[in-house]
Each structure stands twice: as structure tokens, then as C-alpha cells.
Symmetry: C2
Subunit: 422 residues, 2 copies
């Protein structure tokens, strides 16, 4: 077969579209507030649809509002898809999600302008409600797509004002005819900002994402006895905050014992009655444990629960623990990962393998189609924040690697088809 | 001189009045919500005034709303006063403060009914806004009375609705003509529930309160860096909650190192942004240190501040500390304490010396008049709570000791006057 063409995406054009769409829901501090299925979301969806159709794509929408902009290939097989999400957090940035959709659009436009015919159809996908800021859980449309959530359950989720997902979808005119999930893919590639400090710290441009950490979330309530801070001697106290504080330390220590890949965090804590002169009688907190390996995650969970009972027993306290989330680790497809690695090498970028600490649509999609992800650095690892920033050259690098990876995977499918014919 | 008369207060009558006034602001859970200078406070003040006048007392009110019900003595000298406060916390109990006023009223009534003439005038005092729940700071009228606060500053304090102390006082008709503080006292005795576990744990009926612990309050803010819990490796974190948790432990340890009288507590904590999947970037908390001895309190303060810098330095964090309260320890008057001790002995109750962990009006009053306090047990050391409870026999015992102490102090004044005349 012929070598892959040397197609180059246009970084300036990509940056221009990132800035253009950032005006839809722009905040005064330079971020975006574009909650899923609001009128602002409709505006950016309309923009995306018009651009894709302008490139000759057919845009279909599924029953969860996910959008699929397709450019045909020579073969009548499921498409190779690229994409991410266009919704943001309430005080979100300009890159989280958006970069993955607009870079995919730029990659597709590069193919169109070069007149390059692919073997497989190529699609750009905009997943609905990745952020989970308006409707919980997050990543709900890719979750339904992959069979992780029931369609009707997800449609009936409601926002704080009592509006259901289905009603909001209807209201903005993006409830599609295609049943969510009835849309096979040959592969899926997602470009995203890292949201962590590793690439920046090591001065790497591309993260070859090999998987997503397993995540377990717990809610814990430690109960002791409210008491007057002045009138209650130390030896007669049942201080719930003292127990909780020790557990903050233990969770941190457990993660460090499973270095370098483990993380463990108490992110939220509520103290009752939360008064300067009352020994706290009750403390609620969350525990977030993550690791790429399920058996290590089992060990971490066991250690944390054992610590919770040991620490509270010692302090004359009670503890109640609920596991509220258990997402198994994701290992991306070896062929897809190899295509990303080759893409980065061909384009000449410094790259390293990396495990995603955050969840992404690609995590769910990987259950039903070969998938992988590409990370680019974001400044100071800040995301979900209006000051979130990814440099233009990094956005362009990510889009270039995305295009190369898709072309390489397309060639792989073509070669396999040829082998079968032989 | 003749021996002291064997006067007995009526415990059942005292209990009846405790229950009767508890209906003014009664809560469904059996407590009282009677915030200072509200119409409910007016009602209980009217009740108190009527009862005192019914016993032949003259009731005067000062410019901070403190009420003084006086029964004349043989000598024209400042009165020996007893009392406490009739305001409560929003979810307060039936005994905190109220017991001290109603037991004083019962003691005075016992004198009236016996026709017993004292040397000094006897007064029952109701101090305004001891609780500090509606207007901060607490103990404001006894504080102005003793010169701890400026009169005009205190009058201008406003509640959450923007109503000033002076306006609220005017509205309920309890702004008196006498300038607060222009009211000399020969002595002051305050009966109160312990609000701690010591008497109950040791099965003692009477606490002979020798002083009030010194109190220092600090506000601390630990600052690190918000970060994604999944994407931020442990070694690249600046976890403000981890630093704060270590300081919760250090404060506890510092108090235990200064056993048995020291106490140290983190009672309030606010975590930012307080989300399960964000490493906390900022934590605010309060530190409450108490000890009866000022030099030990100095040592504790030094240890806590050193710990704050050491722990945050180690964690790559910043810390800002403000001291927001510094109440020096109070040592009550030796003669007053002796009168309480003798009163408990004469009445035949098991008693022990005790240091108050909480602040009380008597603490301020002791700056301008010889003072002491009497504690009685409260169940499970619960106060500032609707289930707060003191047994009828303990309330009666406290009132009896209060009466005995006042009679004994009165005899002391009489003897001193006689000595001067000789």
C-alpha cells in the first residue's frame, strides 16, 4: 500500500474556532458557562452542525442528544470516530471537552480539503452532558451508548429545577430519532487536556493515554458527642473531628504506600455543629481512591476501611461508610494506543504514556469499540476553572496526532480487509 | 453574734417556676428559644419584674437592659447580688442561665417569708444577652457593667437583620435610666449548671467554682492548591486539608500535654472548594485553647503557632493565623469562695472545687465586685441544647447553697462593719 499522506492540520484555524465558540456562554473571567441542554448548548450545537454540514457531512442525533457528523469512506463499515463534548462546568474553561470536538472537526476538514478518501467513514462526535454539572451522573450519554446506564433511567434524571434530561433535550430540539447505542463504531479517539501536572512537569507535548484509573468513592460519617469546648476535659471527649482528621491522614498515607500510581483524597468535609466552642459531634466526609489496577484498588479499599474502624474504635467513636461509586479501571485498545504512539512519533512530538486520572467519554465507549485517548498539557494543571489554559501549539499538536492516529487506524482496517479478501 | 438562721428554700416552688417560665419561648423538643431583647424576652422580663415586685422589691433597669430587683437591708451599703440571665440560645435548654435567676428569686423569697433582715441589701440580677446568639459578643451587659466593653460600641452591635442592640432594647421597653456600671455591688454570686461532665462523673452535687479558665481563640486559614483528585500525583499536591487535619491532631495533643486542666479544640472547619474530586486548596478553622493559668496558656499558644508553621512548611502550604479572643483567666474572690464552700458544707452536699470552662457573667462582674459561682450537675453534660436537663434535687441544692453563701457573706460584711465601729 501507499504510505500515509503527510496531511497537516491548521493550528491557527483550530485556535480561531476555539476562541469563536468560547463566546457562546463566555464568562467575564475568560471561561465558559455552557451547561448541557441549555439554550447556550443549543447555540454551540447549531454552530457545530452548520460547520460539519458545510464540510459535506451528514449530522445525525441520537435519543440522548449525542451528535454524529459523518464523512463517508470507501467501505460501508462502521466509522472511525473522534470527539469529546461541548458542554462545560458552571465556571468552566475554554478547552475541557471543546478541544476534543473542535480538533476532530479540524482533522476532518483537513481530510476534506486534501480530498483524501478514507477506507472507513470518519465521524466527529459531540457527547451530551459529559460534565454532570446540570444532570448527574456525568458522561451520561456515552454511558447509555455503552450500556453502562439504562436509557429510561438516564432520560428521567432531573436538574436542580426539576427539569428532566428528556424534557431539556426536547426543549432545545436535539432529541434525535436514532436510539442511543444503535450506532456501531469501528474505533473512537478522544483528544483532551490532561487536567493534571505530569506532562507540564516533564515538558512533554503528548500523553499517550493507555487507560483510565479505577475510581471508588465513599461517604463516611464519624459520630461522637457534641460537648462544650471549655467544660469538657480531654479524657471525657468523643471528638468526631479528631477521628476524621486522623482518617484524612490515613487516606493520604494509604495512597503513598501504593506509589507511584495510586491517589487518595478526602475532598469534602462537613463538621457538625461547626461552632468554635463545641467539640464536633459528627463529621461527614468523602474518600476518593484511584488506581489503574483493580486488585491494588481492592487493597487500598481494604486498608481505608480497616483504618476507619481502628481510628474510630480508639477514639470511642462510631463510623458509617457507604461506597457510592465504583468505576473499574479502563485499559484502552492496544491497536488504538499504538496508532496514537505512532502518530506522535511521526509528528515529532515528545510523548509519554500516561493513565488518565479523570473519567472521560472514551472510558465508556471503550466497552463497545476499540478506543484510546490523547492528552495535551494544560497550564498549572488547572481545569474546571475559568483560567484553564492550553497553549495554541499544544492544541495544534493534539489535533495533528489525532489526525495521524485516525489515518493510521484507517489504514489498519484497510489492511485487514485486504487480508480477508486474499 | 447570733448563728445564721436555718432557712430552707422550697425546691418544689423553684421547679414550678422553672417549668412555668419555660413556657415562654417553649420549643417542641422541650427546650426554649428566647433570644435576647425579643418579645419573648420582654414577656419573661415582665414576669420576673412582677414576681420581684410582689415580694416587695424595687426593680431598676440599667442602660444595657440589666435588671436589678432589690430588697433593702439594714445598712445603706451596696447590695449583695445573685443572678444570671434569662435569655437562651436558639435551641437552648430550660436551665442555662434561667436557673441562676430563678434560684436567686427563690432565695430572696425565702428571706422575705422568714422575715429575715439582712445587713446588706439583697439583689437579684438578670443580665442582658449573656448568650451572644442574637448580638455578639456574649455577656455584653455584664461586660459593659465591668468596663470590659465600651457602652456605645455595645449599644451599636447589630443582629443579622440589622437591628441594633439599642433599638431592640427600646422596642421591648427595657432601656433603663441608670447608666450601665453606675451600680456598685458588695458581692455577686451566680448559680449555673456545669455544662461539663465532671460533677456527674464524680457524683458530686455542688461545684465550688474557684475561677474561670483563660480563653484564647484563633482563626487559621491554610492555603495550598486546588487540584484534580484523579489527575494529580501525591507528590505534586499541596493539600490544605491534609495540613489542617494534622493541626487538629496537634491542637489535641498540645492540650493533653498540659493535662489535667488544659483543653484545646478545633470546633469549626470550612473546606474549599469542598468537592469530592478536588484536592482542597484552602481550609479555614478555629482553635480554642483554655487553661486556668495564663502562663500555661502562653505555652500552649506558642506550641500551637509553632506547630502551624512546622506542619504547613512541611506540606508546601501557607498559613495565616489571627487571634480573635483573649480572655484572661478569672480567679474568684477568696471570701466569696469560702462562703460557697461553707454553704455546701452546712447544707450537707458533696462538693468539689472546679474551674469553669465556659465564660459567665460572674467572670466580668468579678472585675468590679467580689464574686464566686456555684455549679450543679447537668445530665450528660449537655447544654445549649433542647434536651439540657438538671434534676430538681440538684436545682434545689444549688439554690440552697446560693442562699447560704449570701447569708454567710452578709454576716461577714456585718462583722467587718462591727469591727470598724469598735
Amino acid at each position: 500500500m501507499t504510505p500515509l499522506p503527510n496531511l497537516r492540520i491548521d493550528g491557527a484555524r483550530l485556535w480561531g474556532e476555539l476562541m469563536e465558540t468560547a463566546t457562546i456562554g463566555a464568562t467575564r473571567k475568560g471561561g465558559i458557562c455552557r451547561l448541557t441542554l441549555t439554550d447556550l448548548d443549543r447555540q454551540v450545537r447549531d454552530w457545530f452542525k452548520a460547520r460539519a454540514e458545510g464540510l459535506g457531512c451528514t449530522v445525525t442525533v441520537d435519543s440522548m442528544g449525542a451528535m454524529f457528523a459523518r464523512r463517508p469512506g470507501r467501505a460501508d463499515i462502521p466509522p472511525i470516530a473522534m470527539g469529546s463534548h461541548l458542554d462545560t462546568q458552571p465556571t468552566g474553561g475554554k478547552f475541557d471537552g471543546v478541544l476534543g470536538v473542535l480538533a476532530a472537526l479540524e482533522a476532518l476538514r483537513t481530510l476534506v480539503e486534501a480530498g483524501y478518501e478514507t477506507h472507513a467513514p470518519i465521524e466527529v462526535i459531540n457527547w451530551t452532558n459529559e460534565e454532570g454539572a446540570r444532570f448527574q451522573p456525568s458522561m451520561v450519554s456515552s454511558g447509555v451508548f455503552a450500556g453502562a446506564f439504562e436509557h429510561d433511567w438516564a432520560s428521567a434524571r432531573s436538574d436542580p429545577a426539576g427539569v428532566t434530561f428528556a424534557e431539556a433535550l426536547e426543549a432545545i430540539g436535539y432529541r434525535g430519532w436514532q436510539r442511543c447505542g444503535d450506532h456501531p463504531l469501528s474505533a473512537f479517539f478522544e483528544l483532551h487536556i490532561e487536567q493534571g501536572p505530569i506532562l507540564e512537569a516533564e515538558d512533554k507535548t503528548i500523553g499517550i493515554v493507555t487507560g483510565i484509573q479505577g475510581i471508588r468513592w465513599f461517604e463516611a460519617t464519624v459520630r461522637g458527642q457534641d460537648a462544650h469546648t471549655g467544660a469538657t476535659p480531654m479524657n471525657l471527649r468523643k471528638n468526631a473531628l479528631l477521628g476524621a482528621a486522623r482518617l484524612v491522614e490515613r487516606v493520604d498515607a494509604i495512597a503513598r504506600r501504593h506509589a507511584p500510581h495510586a491517589v487518595g483524597t478526602v475532598g469534602r468535609m462537613e463538621v457538625k455543629p461547626n461552632s468554635p466552642n463545641v467539640v464536633p459531634g459528627e463529621v461527614f466526609f468523602t474518600v476518593d481512591l484511584r488506581h489503574p489496577d483493580a486488585s491494588t484498588l481492592d487493597d487500598m479499599q481494604e486498608a481505608w476501611i480497616a483504618a476507619a474502624y481502628a481510628v474510630t474504635d480508639e477514639g470511642g467513636l462510631e463510623v458509617e461508610i457507604n461506597k457510592i461509586l465504583d468505576q473499574p479501571p479502563v485499559r484502552f485498545d492496544a491497536d488504538c494506543i499504538a496508532c496514537v504512539r505512532e502518530g506522535a512519533r511521526t509528528a515529532g512530538f515528545l510523548a509519554r504514556e500516561i493513565t488518565s486520572g479523570a473519567g472521560h467519554d472514551a472510558g465508556y465507549v471503550s466497552r463497545v469499540a476499540p478506543s484510546a485517548m490523547i492528552f495535551v498539557p494544560c497550564r498549572d494543571s488547572i481545569s474546571h476553572n475559568e483560567v484553564e489554559y492550553a497553549a495554541p501549539e499544544h492544541c495544534a499538536a493534539g489535533a495533528q496526532v489525532l489526525l495521524q492516529a485516525v489515518l493510521r487506524y484507517d489504514r489498519l482496517l484497510q489492511e485487514r480487509a485486504a487480508t480477508r479478501r486474499d
